[in-house]
């Protein structure tokens, strides 16, 4: 029963979409099409990502992560998380579980948020796409200016959260 309760909103949503199709309600049908588009993207991408996270969890020892991107890691650690983030692809919500596993393994607060920032804004696979539509000058400038900005955000979040019992929770 408790399991079904957690799904109550998605179930209501799907029933409404189903009814829209039954009664030929255009708005509901359009929302259904949108939902399917996002759902396809998620259901293909996330399980793979979570399997990788699971493997990362069992194989990568805590000491390694703590040493390289932990609180004492300095600029090299920052460089490493940025590199890690930019090589990945997908929507930002895919980065949260990875941030959790990094945190669990001892990554510093600063590097967690730098990771999220880099994941969101600079993706090597997407850069060619951006250049194609918005030009080299725009893409290059945007990337170069964004980089220090989210590093600053990382420092800010660390400064703000460091004595506030911050933790990344397992959902």
């Amino acid at each position: 029963m408790k399991k079904i309760q957690k799904y109550i909103f998605p179930i209501i949503f799907l029933i409404l979409i189903g009814l829209s199709y039954l009664f030929d309600f255009t708005a509901g049908k359009q929302i259904g099409i949108n939902f399917w588009m996002f759902f396809k993207e998620m259901i293909l991408f996330l399980p793979l990502m979570f399997i990788l996270i699971g493997l990362f969890d069992v194989w990568v020892p805590r000491e390694k992560i703590e040493k390289h991107i932990g609180s004492g890691s300095g600029w090299k650690g920052t460089g490493l998380v940025i590199l890690l983030a930019t090589l990945q692809a997908g929507p930002l919500y895919g980065a949260f579980p990875f941030a959790y596993i990094l945190w669990k393994k001892g990554c510093s607060i600063r590097n967690i948020f730098i990771y999220l920032g880099a994941f969101a804004t600079i993706k090597i696979p997407m850069i060619t796409f951006e250049i194609g539509f918005l030009g080299l000058k725009f893409s290059l400038l945007r990337t170069l200016i964004t980089l220090p900005v989210f590093i600053l955000i990382g420092y800010f979040m660390e400064w703000y959260l460091k004595d506030k019992d911050f933790e990344v929770k397992q959902p």
Binding site: N34, L141, P171
Partner: protein
Amino acid sequence: MLVLSILTIVCLIVSFLLDSGKTLIGIKKGLKMFIKLLPVLLLMLALVSIALFLIPNETLVKYMGEASGIKGWLTAALIGSVALIPGFIAYPLSGILIDNGVAYSVIAVFITTLMMTGFLTLPVEAKFFGWKVSVLRNLVSLFAALFLGLIMGFLL
């Protein structure tokens, strides 16, 4: 997507050859997390599909094309924060906006908020970081995006 699939398969094979027991534990751990997160993910996708219906691309072009100056920035920031548009749609859309006379600095704000802030993904983010930190991160990112737009405006 293809890269991720290949990467996952290669990692799985290597991991399995090294230690099959450990691999199974890893897969189980990962999928368990996914299942736990699934209800809130579905809720988020439902919200996103409703938002996309309420503000279709044509409306975005209209509003951002008409607004100029500070109003244009704020419009771009607002739309970018609420919408969740994947990159492969956002960049072509931005190209259209540029052709329609929208300034590059406004596009910078739009793209950055699109990527860094997500008010509709907050329920998912809060599962990991808690509501307070998630809201803070989104607000800070929003200001960062506006700041970025300001600099881009000067430079371009």
